[in-house]
């Protein structure tokens, strides 16, 4: 069997994997609020400790 089948399979699988990740990201609400995270990441380092656990909880909806 030609190597092209393997290459194609791999590329399609990689493509689909990224696609699935995209769907999961949309589903978790990542695209619902596109502004706040951009501000949140600029807070000082010491404050990140308090704000870092939010991404975990945000997936409950």
């Amino acid at each position: 069997m030609s190597v092209i089948y393997i290459v194609l399979t791999v590329s399609v699988i990689v493509g689909i994997a990224f696609f699935v990740v995209f769907l999961l990201a949309v589903k978790s609400g990542q695209y619902d609020d596109s502004y706040t995270p951009s501000v949140r990441m600029l807070f000082e380092d010491e404050l990140v400790k308090e704000t870092s656990n939010e991404s975990i909880n945000s997936k409950t909806d």
Partner: protein
């Protein structure tokens, strides 16, 4: 003296700043918030943004209803023994400091485990442990730090909102397929009869087929549904040729690869759907923090205090109020049902319901209508009706609120699509007939090629991109529009109707003219100082208008609620208030609000209040008068007629004493006469008129707070630019027409290839994206040029 601004809220501290910790504050409220933050090591709040805070408001007893189980149940999105999650809408959220402090709530209350801000929607999602704290405490905490949540009846019935993300999914699927199909079809564009390509091209083709199946059956399904609906209603909307194009593309491509005739048009197909969806996505600009669908529910409180027979107070849900219930209404609370005043000093602000700007005084036994806001002290009333049957809420049972305006209106794209579809079908038939006689084998090829190349992708994209871009430009200029079709309707209006109170007049300031014997210096000193102590709205207004004076301590000061103020200083005894209080019974009754003054029991004169009109109103009306019919519909009395006549062009119709229903009927009447009406209003009393008109614009002093259901929300400071916005909408229509011309040129080129039977996949693959992209570029550049003119 130089005025300094408050460290917390940035307001002017006036002459008595409160100093604390080397900082100055305008009031104790602001100082307290600072103290809280200071103690909890949260002063970083002030580093992120200068003076980000808000003055905390009195909230005594206001949130008692939040301890009721059935209300908590409705407001929380998740509830268990150890964990509750609630999302609260906080209008004050406006900067990065707000995000920071709200996400650090756990430092202020350790039982809050997590809080997350959605800046766009101005909400904070709080997770807390209900065993240790409760919803009421969370809300009170937020209120004490100046972030009072806004909880209305709307939150109660809305339940758990589902966010619709299907368009993103569809776009994702189409984009994924488009990208991959382009890769797979690329080798065949060059038609080199190369050994390797020959060997594998079948597999490539079937892979493309597999990728395009979800594009056709999932991503493009809306076009099929819409086309089907259009055909059933005997309308040739733009989705008909699109659906036809997609179907033909898919079928022809499938047949080509099954019979090994060619590589098919899968690339063009997925590209087409992808571009169309991008257009749809672009048009779907929404303002998360604004709501265009509000009805009375957004204004009404969730719960109200009920007085039981034994005298105990209890918070009840407003839907549970029954006829005969005794209710307690606190200062600044809204009356949720029609009722009879039992006791207390009622001073009701009906501006929501009638547009009347001055509050009305009521005696016990008088009837109070739902929607009025109590403005002085506590009153008790007995409910006469339930919430849904009350006078104000009945307005919403009118048919106009259930109609969808977009359905009644055929947009520019659909208008052109009718002719377009017929032309294309004719060309296809003629070309096919010609080929049937010359070379029958090519006939089918030509027929499908015409339908494929004529698929009006570029036409379908012109309107979404033009309007979508205008929507964004308008949004930046504080004119928030619900959707693209509103811009189109705005370009077509020929009649403009304004509400008066709150729309062309400003709520915040009014003018007062003094008329009578002139006051001596010492008298005006006492006057200013006595007004200083009063919280009555008229006193506050008058205080703002009068010239600055020294601050003195009055010898004697007494406020007679509902009558006026009495003050003595330095042998001057001043009475300020209603005519009867001051002792002037025989003054000429005027329709305008007046405040009378007497000094040492001698009548001096009166201040007459006039509405203060927004800046640029006169200019705006003069700009508009040549092209539009203008009218003013006011819920107020005729007191302002003379002023308005002076201010506005002569042909402006002035109609007073209009109830909410009258306004709606007035617009309906004019629409039946063929007028396309733009209604501009502000309060709930205009809600019916806003819904009935072709375009209803709500004017708002603070876009985050109140505005009734409407098609667009305009910031009050931008009212004078209304003419420019309408002109820009008209230019928008012109842009779309020009881009139609542009896409016709592409279609003519494409049709040449199609009817001569030489449409190769590579031509389609180049022509289709090229036309779409050039349309996008053209509309974007043109709308930005319009936008530049607006500024």
């Amino acid at each position: 003296m130089e005025n300094k601004s408050c460290f917390h809220c940035g307001d002017d501290c006036g002459q008595h700043p409160i100093a604390f910790d080397d900082k100055i504050f305008c009031c104790n409220g602001c100082k307290t918030v600072y103290e809280i933050f200071n103690e909890n090591d949260l002063t970083c709040y002030y580093d992120l943004q200068q003076s980000p805070g808000a003055v905390p408001k009195e909230i005594e007893g206001k949130y008692d209803f939040l301890s009721r189980d059935n209300i908590i149940e409705k407001l929380t999105e998740f509830r268990s023994e150890q964990l509750e999650i609630v999302t609260l809408y906080i209008p004050h959220i406006h900067c990065s400091s707000c995000i920071w402090i709200l996400e650090n709530l756990n430092k202020l209350n350790k039982d809050i485990s997590d809080s997350q801000v959605n800046f766009g929607k101005k909400t904070v999602r709080v997770t807390y442990n209900p065993e240790a704290t409760n919803l009421k405490e969370v809300v009170l905490l937020l209120s004490t730090i100046g972030y009072e949540p806004y909880i209305s009846l709307d939150d109660f019935s809305a339940g758990k909102k589902q966010i619709n993300r299907t368009l993103i999914y569809k776009l994702g699927v189409a984009g994924f397929a488009f990208g991959n199909i382009m890769f797979l079809s690329f080798p065949e564009y060059f038609e080199i009869n190369e050994f390797w390509l020959e060997q594998y091209k079948h597999m490539f083709r079937w892979l493309m087929f597999a990728l395009s199946v979800p594009v056709v059956f999932y991503s493009a399904q809306d076009y099929f549904i819409s086309a089907f609906k259009g055909l059933r209603a005997k309308l040739l909307n733009i989705d008909v040729p699109i659906a036809l194009g997609i179907t033909v593309l898919f079928l022809r491509s499938t047949i080509e690869i099954v019979f090994d005739l060619g590589s098919g048009f899968f690339d063009s197909l997925s590209g087409l759907v992808f571009f169309l969806l991008v257009g749809k996505f672009f048009q779907q600009k929404t303002y998360d923090f604004l709501s265009f669908e509000r009805d009375y529910k957004s204004y009404f409180p969730i719960a109200i205090t009920k007085i039981n027979r034994n005298g105990s107070e209890e918070a009840v849900q407003v839907y549970d109020i029954k006829k005969g219930d005794r209710l307690l209404i606190r200062n600044e609370e809204l009356i949720p049902v029609d009722g009879i005043l039992i006791n207390g000093n009622a001073k009701i602000d009906y501006s929501f319901v009638t547009g009347e700007s001055q509050s009305v005084r009521k005696k016990s036994g008088d009837k109070l209508f739902a929607g009025g806001k109590q403005t002085s002290g506590v009153i008790e009333l007995e409910a006469l009706k339930s919430v849904e049957q009350s006078y104000l809420t009945q307005l919403w049972s009118n048919d106009v609120f259930s109609k969808n305006k977009e359905d009644q209106f055929s947009n520019i794209t659909n208008k052109i699509s009718k002719h377009f579809t017929i032309t294309i079908l004719t060309i296809a038939v003629i070309a096919t007939t010609y080929w049937l006689f010359t070379d029958a084998s090519k006939a089918m090829n030509v027929f499908t090629a015409v339908l494929i190349i004529a698929c009006p992708c570029a036409i379908a994209l012109s309107a979404p991109f033009t309007f979508g871009n205008l929507l964004r430009i308008f949004g930046k200029l504080k004119f928030y529009i619900k959707n693209a079709s509103v811009i189109e309707q705005l370009a077509h209006i020929n009649t403009i109707i304004f509400d008066k109170t709150g729309t062309i007049t400003s709520n915040k300031t009014s003018n007062a003219v003094y008329d009578g014997l002139s006051l001596t210096d010492s008298e005006s000193l006492v006057l200013k100082n006595s007004l200083r102590g009063s919280n009555h709205p008229l006193s506050r207004t008058l205080y703002q208008i009068l010239e600055e004076n020294n601050i003195v301590t009055l010898d004697n000061y007494k406020e007679h609620i509902g009558k006026g103020i009495e003050a003595t200083y330095d042998n001057i005894s001043l009475k300020v208030g209603s005519a009867s209080f001051v002792g002037n019974e025989d003054h000429n009754a005027t329709l305008n609000t007046t405040v009378h003054i007497s000094s040492n029991n001698k009548y001096k004169g009166k201040f007459t209040f006039y509405n203060s009109y927004r800046k640029g109103i006169s200019k705006l009306f003069n700009q508009l008068k040549n092209n539009y019919d203008l009218a003013i519909l006011s819920g107020d009395n005729e007191g302002e007629r003379k002023n308005l006549e002076k201010l506005l062009p002569a042909k402006t119709k002035l109609i007073f004493n209009q109830k909410p229903d009258d306004k709606l009927e007035f617009i309906k009447y004019h629409q039946n006469e063929g007028a396309k009406v733009l209604m501009i209003g502000d309060g709930l009393n205009d809600a019916g008129a806003l819904a009935q008109s072709s375009v209803g614009i709500a004017i708002s002093e603070d876009v985050n707070v109140f505005s009734p259901a409407c098609d667009a929300i305009l910031d009050a400071t931008k009212l004078n630019s209304l003419y420019k916005f309408i002109s820009a909408s008209k230019s928008g229509i012109k842009i779309i027409k020009w881009s139609f011309v542009l896409s016709f040129i592409y279609n003519v080129i494409g049709l040449y290839f199609a009817v001569t039977g030489q449409l190769a996949p590579v031509v389609a693959a180049i022509l289709m994206p090229l036309s779409s992209i050039s349309i996008v570029v053209f509309t974007t550049i043109c709308t930005n040029l319009i936008g530049r003119k607006l500024k």
